[in-house]
């Protein structure tokens, strides 16, 4: 799930086995929610199962 932009809201979602795993390398990157360059974004009351990295907020 990638959120980019302004005034985005994701609420009350159930997310199971989300994310994209990169099996290469010692650091597998698994990001379920990635907020990129977002302003005034809201992520609230979501439930995420299985993932490793629950979020990555790069607000810049």
């Amino acid at each position: 799930m990638i959120i980019e932009g302004s005034h985005t809201s994701v609420e009350d979602c159930f997310v199971e086995q989300a994310g994209v795993a990169d099996p290469a390398g010692s650091f597998q990157q698994v990001t379920t929610i990635y907020v990129h360059r977002a302003q005034d974004a809201i992520l609230r009351n979501n439930y995420i199962l299985w993932n490793v990295s629950i979020f990555d907020i790069d607000v810049s």
Partner: protein, 322 residues
Amino acid sequence: MYEGNTAVCTVEMPPHGNSISTYDHAEGPWNEFVFFARNTAYRPQNNNNPHPTESLTTDGGYGSYFGKVLAVPSKGARAYGTGEGGSTLLIAQSDVITWSINMTRSGLFVMSGPGAGQWRRIVSARNTTALGSVPAVLLAVDEPFDVSPVAGVSVVGVSPLRAHQLIVGNRWVWGTEVQTYGTAIGVVMADNTLEHMRWGLKIYGGDYQGGAQPNWHVEVTKNTHINSRGFAMYPSKVGGSLQCDECGGVHFGPGAGNLYYVDYYRGIYLRDNDFFGVFDDHPTFGYGNPCAGANVTGVGAGVVLQGTRFTGCPEGNIPGGL
């Protein structure tokens, strides 16, 4: 706003750090006004992940300048590119670490000397020959300094700005560290609970990946560590031309002989935090590795450690003189 979410991880995969970051520092080196509250994150019980990266980190450090101020053309006057009310100063091109980090909208931090402890948002940066034979960079900041830096004396850093973040009421279980990493300005970490955490709360200013990245005005209040290692506060240490020692905030500038003493920590309040039990129930990381208690080795200006309670775990390393 990231509030009330629950994440349950059931596999021991090396996670990418959960970060509130400024990785995109080439385009947008700032990150402000983040509300991260009432979230819960579980990792597998007895997580044996060899690379258990952070449960939460404010990340994406780096820096584009560290050195003395060359000149201060104006204070309170109209500043280049800002309209009314800004201020400008000149820094040396020779001390620019990299332009790959966009100085515009980075933070400008007065690290030592007159004006130390102030920070501003940079609104423009451009090379200039205003000083004749000395190649310089003209920085304009968003607000005039309350106390003007002094040319040739004040030391400033330019790094991505991460400021005004509330990390409150969260719960982490079987994770690693929850930390400020690199610049943190105006951050509150309060009413969080950490259980079975390989690390605890960290306040981690320093020169992570180059650049001077202060932790100023950070409050860590009423957090609870249960069977976890305690919190730590110390500057990071990297090799190369930029490094600081573990305690004194000694920072080497990029040029030979540029040794500056700076305060990475200002206005740090560690108050009313509780520690229960020891971190000895982890099959890999716990045994022989008891609760660290509070490991506070960084020094700075205005560091308050108050009301820390330990129940059933050692007190860790808390030096006097804070």
